[in-house]
């Protein structure tokens, strides 16, 4: 267990150096589910295991980090999905690697606000991942799993901050909530001493995370369809977390409908919008 950071590091590199050393904690639910399955390690279906792992962005990061650290020289191909990573690692070795892992709930016991903030980001990330996957399948894109993974990990640096610098993470969130006109990047530089995308870029490389995540950070790739697929799912998850009447949602809907070539009511149904919203959209389309 490491020291919780209360003072910002001087720049992205120092944060990366710190995260390089730390043991990544996982959710208690993940630890319990894995413990239940440990006895079946030799026969377990990797998809079942992958689903459990992908429910927890921190566990997902652990798998990629483990892969990167234990990769043999002959393994050149990029690993872009958890299921593939598990096949490469082997389920026995995977279970051996996750005994007595630190638990997030324990680590944040003294920081209930940070725990709540963290759970909200994780819930948002899971939702974004589900939507991103669904839309990728609708687009008949064979990289749907990588797209879902990118949406899940899109905010992983914020999750790391909640786990290892809870006071700073809460500070940043409250500052943005109190001053919505402030630029997120400026607040991150002020509170963390570095913009989170810079830290993210370094960690993607360090931990061997899918390249698609790197594309999300590159403005030149912003119009690439897979990048748009992920970004729109992340935006929709963030805005709907404020409720289905969030002011940013109409723009999100328009962009997603354009990406998927589907009508408004169809999209609302697909993303599980409230029934009255779907009915109103249907009515508008038939009138």
């Amino acid at each position: 267990m490491t020291l919780m950071i209360d003072f910002p590091f001087p720049g992205a590199n120092a944060w990366v150096e710190h995260f390089k050393e730390v043991e990544l904690p996982i959710l208690r639910l993940t630890a319990n589910r894995l413990a239940e399955l440990r006895d079946t390690a030799e026969v377990i279906n990797t998809r079942t295991l992958a689903n459990i792992i992908m429910h927890d962005p921190m566990m997902t990061l652990r798998v990629f980090r483990f892969m990167k650290e234990n990769r043999s020289k002959s393994q050149n191909a990029e690993i872009t999905t958890i299921e593939r990573a598990l096949v490469m690692i082997g389920t026995m070795k995977f279970f051996d690697s996750c005994q007595d892992l630190p638990i997030i709930e324990h680590q944040l016991k003294g920081h209930p606000k940070a725990m709540l903030g963290l759970l909200k980001v994780i819930a948002r990330s899971r939702q974004a991942s589900l939507w991103a996957r669904d839309w990728a399948l609708l687009r008949q894109n064979t990289r749907f799993e990588e797209i879902a993974l990118a949406a899940l990990l899109h905010e992983f640096v914020e999750i790391l901050m909640y786990c290892f610098a809870p006071a700073l993470a809460i500070g940043a969130r409250e500052r943005l909530a109190a001053n919505p006109s402030l630029r997120t990047r400026a607040v991150q530089e002020e509170i963390f001493g570095a913009p989170l995308p810079e830290i993210m870029r370094e960690l993607i490389e360090l931990w061997g995370l899918p390249e698609l995540l790197m594309s999300l950070l590159d403005p030149a790739d912003a119009e690439a369809l897979n990048v748009r697929n992920v970004n729109l799912a992340v935006d929709l998850a963030r805005h709907t977390a404020n409720g289905w009447n969030d002011a940013a949602l109409p723009d999100d809907f328009r962009a997603i409908e354009e990406l998927l070539h589907i009508g408004h009511s169809h999209l609302l149904e697909r993303v599980g919008a409230p029934e009255e919203m779907v009915a109103a959209a249907r009515l508008a389309e038939t009138s």
Binding site: M1, T2, L3, M4, I5, D6, F7, H18, E21, V22, E23, Q107, G110, A167
Partner: protein
């Protein structure tokens, strides 16, 4: 202040070295286990040891006892992620000057070290010999106290804090039997009594102290603040308790109430 860090987690060591170095502390060494701790303390001469509990080899509590036995002037800040309910009490009773339960933040350890340094500075000031004429005069008017604790480090700190608060320490003792004798000889205004001690425990000594010196207010000094212990001590005539590790602000407010009950 010269700090020695004993912690098996490399990331924690690195962060502590950077943090403390940036706050004016001199980190004289960092160890991943306590195998050579006593030799390292002799060589590096730290004033504070930040000591982890769960270390490879000997654990922090065992090492803490060694440090206090050999170097009572060194303050130990005990750090642990253990969920044991009584670990804080055991560390305090073993002489830890500070305690941090993991995970803790950078601000928490800086606050803890600041408090430990303040207590130590008070103890050091009190250890300076007072000018003789004034000292004799002052001693005559100051309330007297006896300190009883088997841990010399705690006696040292408590003596410093109490002297700074204007008390005259007339005797110190390391077990219950010695406490009874000191009470009989000096009849102090206050007797500070540790609970867990060899030969005769504090709770066993308490009724005998009350018998030989009924006017002495006995104050328990303990890391254990359980209702059971507090009730037992109160039933035997203790006038209150001070929690270990000793903190001057708490001792001061407690003594004010004890010595000036009407104010």
């Amino acid at each position: 202040m010269k700090v020695l860090i004993v912690e098996d987690n490399a990331s924690m060591r690195t962060l502590l070295v950077t943090l403390l170095g940036g706050q004016g502390y001199t980190v004289v060494g960092q160890l991943e286990n306590g195998n050579t701790l006593i030799e390292d303390i002799r060589r590096l001469q730290p004033t504070i040891v930040c000591l982890d509990y769960q270390l490879p080899g000997r654990n922090g509590l065992e090492l803490l006892k060694d440090i206090n036995a050999g170097f009572p002037e060194i303050d130990v800040v005990f750090m642990t992620g253990s969920e044991d309910a009584d670990i804080e009490k055991r560390a305090a009773d073993s002489g830890a000057s500070g305690f941090l339960r993991k995970p803790f933040g950078q601000k928490q350890i800086l606050d803890e070290l600041r408090q430990v340094c303040e207590v130590r500075q008070q103890a050091d000031r009190a250890a300076q010999p007072a000018p003789e004429a004034n000292g004799a005069k002052r001693n005559g008017t100051r309330p007297t106290a006896v300190i009883v604790d088997d841990n010399s480090s705690i006696r040292l700190v408590l003596k410093g804090v109490l002297s700074e608060l204007g008390m005259h320490i007339v005797a110190q003792a390391g077990n219950g039997e010695e406490a009874v004798r000191a009470a009989q000889i000096h009849r102090p205004r206050v007797l500070f009594l540790d609970v867990n001690m060899p030969v005769l425990s504090g709770l066993d000594a308490l009724p005998r102290i009350r018998e030989v010196s009924p006017e002495t207010a006995v104050v328990m000094v303990t890391g254990d603040t359980s209702r059971q212990l507090v009730q037992q001590a109160a039933g035997l005539g203790a006038r209150g308790y001070i929690v270990k590790p000793v903190r001057p602000a708490y001792v001061e407010s407690f003594l004010k109430k004890l010595l000036n009950p009407g104010s």
